[in-house]
Amino acid sequence: MAMAVRVYLLLFVFLSSAIVSFSLYEDQVGLMDWHQRYIGKVKHAVFHTQKTGRKRVIVSTEENVVASLDLRRGEIFWRHVLGTKDAIDGVDIALGKYVITLSSQGSMLRAWNLPDGQMVWETSLHSAQQSKSLLSVPINLKVDKDYPILVFGGGYLHAVSAVDGEVLWKKDFTAEGFEVQRVLQPPESSIIYVLGFLHSSEAVVYQIDSKTGEVVAQKSMVFPGGFSGEISSVSSDKVVVLDSTRSILVTIGFLDGDISFQKTRISELVEDSGNAEILSPLLSNMLAVKVNKRTIFVRVGGNGKLEVVDSLSDETAMSDSLPVADDQVAFASVHHEGSKIHLMVKLVDDLDNVLLRESIQMDQHRGRVHKVFINNYIKTDRSNGFRALIVMEDHSLLLLQQGAIVWSREEGLASVTDVTTAELPVEKDGVSVAKVEHTLVDWLKGHMLKLKGSLLLASPEDVVAIQEMRMKSSGRNKLTRDHNGFRKLFIALTRAGKLFALHTGDGRIVWSMLLTSPSNSEACARPSGISLYQWQVPHHHAMDENPSVLVVGRCGSDSSAPAVLSFVDVYTGKEISSSDIAHSVVQVMPLPFTDSTEQRLHLIADTDGHVHLYPKTSEALSIFQREFQNVYWYTVEGDDGIIRGHAMKSSCAGETADEYCFTTRELWTVVFPSESEKIISTLTRKPNEVVHTQAKVSTDQDVLYKYVSRNLLFVATVSPKGAGEIGSVTPEESALVVYLIDTITGRILHRLSHQGCQGPVHAVFSENWVVYHYFNLRAHKYEVTVVEIYDQSRAENKNVWKLILGKHNLTAPISSYSRPEMLTKSQSYFFSQSVKTIAVTSTAKGITSKQLLIGTMGDQILALDKRFVDPRRTLNPSQAEKEEGIIPLTDSLPIIPQSYITHSLKVEGLRGIVTAPSKLESTTHVFAYGVDLFYTRLAPSKTYDSLTDDFSYALLLITIVALVAAIYITWVLSEKKELSEKWR
């Protein structure tokens, strides 16, 4: 019996230790989520190799990131993401220990500590006008002499001390309209030569005292032809620029403050010359000119004479020149040949002397080389070695050394424009991707370890082992579909027009594909990506048909430019087909119809007001003809403040022979008065959202019917004055008006104006509610307002008898032409943070309660329960309301630190959050993108429908075994006892 007691006690201990916990613990980080850090397409790179131990390169990117990368492995040592409006103009290293960045068109100068990236100083420079900016950091600094950093921007020339960022002096050039082109600081001299253009026709050289900023001398000379384009400085006292006709190269010498022009016709250098363009690389005594799709190298002689020394094909990328040993200067050039790229490093003085020639196999899907940066190092045999950092067309960054790619970074993922999800292939019999690696012993061992962990008996080594096991566990990285739908692919389209498939398990790139134009014409060699749609999602033939996505690209920035459609197989990443379409793409509308192969029908609207049907098959056409009368669409003309509704009219047979093209007619317009309202935000529901129930039962057994319509458009307008930055207007001048518009009839279903409020408006629309975030100027706070719409026309269906007798109108088809009887409920709350984006969780059946995912200013994602933004919250909820889960009304929404789903991480430059349901109802996938990528799996109402991953089956088994054993033992004991009592 004592044994039984012990068994019971043990059981008790077991059960008490098995309390399920739902919040995220430290050791659970990284189990379901991953985070990838990127920097974006590199604009400038500065190598720093003074101390051999810490080889790193400083880069600045188009995503306004300044970062320090490890040259050996490509990892980020440190990085700083500047604001979206704070574009970096220049980056350099000063004093050998500070990274200097110039940003915001030459008005912000910052110094970062080179080893750790701490900001050392920051100087805001006065700027009066928009102009190009220029950063000049003196090289070869002697310690005893403090040469200033010279910055030109906004019409001012500033001299800033590199030590503390103090502005030593500034020179105002705003009056003359003088644009500084080149600053020369000869060593061992206190005079600075500043060369610039006045009205692009007069060259002016100022000699400025570097100590005081006083102009010592000034010379100017008018060039009658006028200058244009890029300026190339070939030596310390010579620059070359094109004249305004782009056919004459002008060499400007400004030695000792004297200006001299020397004109050379390009036709003298090369035959049949067209418009020339000076390429940016800085080469000493040489310049690169692009003429007739060829790059020619022109040597500038000592007397200003130009001669052509070499010419290369157009698709060659070149680096700046780099001083190597013995006063020689080298530069690198990279060109393509087939699937290989050839890297050559040559001496500038002697182009036949090739220092390095390497050819490297390159992935076709990286496109052309855009930029090259070279750096030299001393090899083990004391000779010069070169490494090259190259930026490819897909924005990826690669380091080449010794004929190999040392590392590569997929920086295209820092500029994701659109994301969609895709399923993984179904696991077929015999084609199991991952083998069963566990034997029973391993399995038991693992579970024993877990058991130890949960009983807090594990040693530190065990904890590490458990963590490792969890990371690798349950085949979460397999490339097949799983039962719960946790494994999925996120298909991301980047600005460079590259498609990436990311695995939800660990975020690795399963495949990637660069969008190409099928005709490969000159005008459209590389279309940029616009949007991404699910083209074909096979359900009936899921085993033998692959899903595909539609990628819409455009051959230019203009919306009237011709577009490219590409259909990509999701499993393999291969392009199935692609087509150049003759028309432009303004809007792509997936229709709720699919053909027999489950291809979704899409309508594409062009700039002429026609719509085009895809796929162009007769079957699709017949499906579309059937629904022709019931297809409506709308356009938003943000600049004019007009929203128009359209219906299909007829085939455009009269104009073109294309039977897949249709004309439309205008059905309704909503015209916002331009003097009082300006559209700042429009939003619709996600088309694939699932609503579980239409009815909402309130506490007093009353039923409200949600107005669930796919054709609702949320529009927010502000007064034109209030469209600027927050705080630029008084509360009286600004008002925010929100609308809910039915897009079939143009009916305004709800209209609410917020006086004294201002944008930007961030909104989320789901089921029958909209939540939007804006700024209240009167209260000086951000506010969040929720609007819920209920359908009153169905409200009388509450009567049970009516339902039984069938006298209800629940099954009647809903027509937008019926006059709706709406009931809207709305409530506002203060929210203490500004917001970058808002999303909402979505689950497979829509049963699970929803959470708002708020991308905060700190680039984190906050999960806020929808219950907090319920319009029915009251100050003193009754007992029944409390039981329903209504939270007492507060004036502001709580920010609970534990509910940041990004925990300690930051998704730098957060731009969007995408949610997708998994097969398990409780769980939703969340993918956030910006400069960084972040993925996690959320269970807004906890995982009520499954056991957690780390549920200890061993514990359960042991418990059952122990129980059975205990029963047996007690039975034996009691038998014995009974026997002994009978014998008594």
């Binding site: 309704w668 916002f672 008065p673 209260a779 307002t785 032409y817 409530q827």
Partner: protein, 289 residues
Amino acid sequence: MAKLTLFIFFLSSLLIISSSLAFQSDELLVDDDEFGLEGAKPQSTPLHTSSPQPQQTPTFRKRYSDLDLDSKVQFTLEHAFGDSGFSPAGTFSARLKSWSHGGKTLTKLRFSRNGFSDEEKDSFKNLLKGDDFYRIRLPSSVISPPGKEFVVASVRARCLPRDGLDEHFVIHMEGANILAVSYGSLGACQYPRQFKLPAKWSFNSHTILKSSEQAPRTPIFTEEILGGENAEGEVEPPPERSFWAKYWMYLIPLGLVVMNAVTQAANVAEGPTGGQAGGSQVQQSARRR
């Protein structure tokens, strides 16, 4: 004498003061009367006359603006059958009321609908046959009717016929601008739209003017309200239940287990002798067998 002069001086000064007082009040009254006359609203309530001067200017202004800018406006409703061009179909007339703060609103909207001509009846019948759209439009600005843009609305023609032709306008206004117009029949329009000719070719029109609703202000709870709330909230939750009331369901089994264990232990403690005896008995009996 000195006293007398003083008295006279006092009297005269009093007179002057009183006369000046009377003068002022007189002017006020005259002023007010004038306005009253102009406004054709004889308002000579004592409250008004005694109202202090600073208040008078705004009332004056308001009336003045009322007078000058309260004007009648007319704008036409145009309709189109299917894809035909728009033609006049009726006239809205309303009073444009201007407020002192510069805003304008429409009031007293009246609508006169032109009946269908025979030609229009035919084209409307065609619409009904084809289940096509009947479109209407209004100018987006009522002050300058041929405005830049028109506010268009449309409805499937089959939704309109009941006994007569039912139509329902909801005009959304923003000041003197028309934002949007919702147009349709009064009631529901069942989806498989039946072809039905109206019994009477006369319109049964309803119009509603709507302007934007003001959002309720976000409730701001000051500290004391919150404090009061908290105090109330503290009272409200049921009194703390005793330890026993909360955990009886765990305690009873535990107690049973403990009791069981205690009795077992007692048994075991006294048991050794009995147990051994029993054991020997068994052995003995075994031997016996």
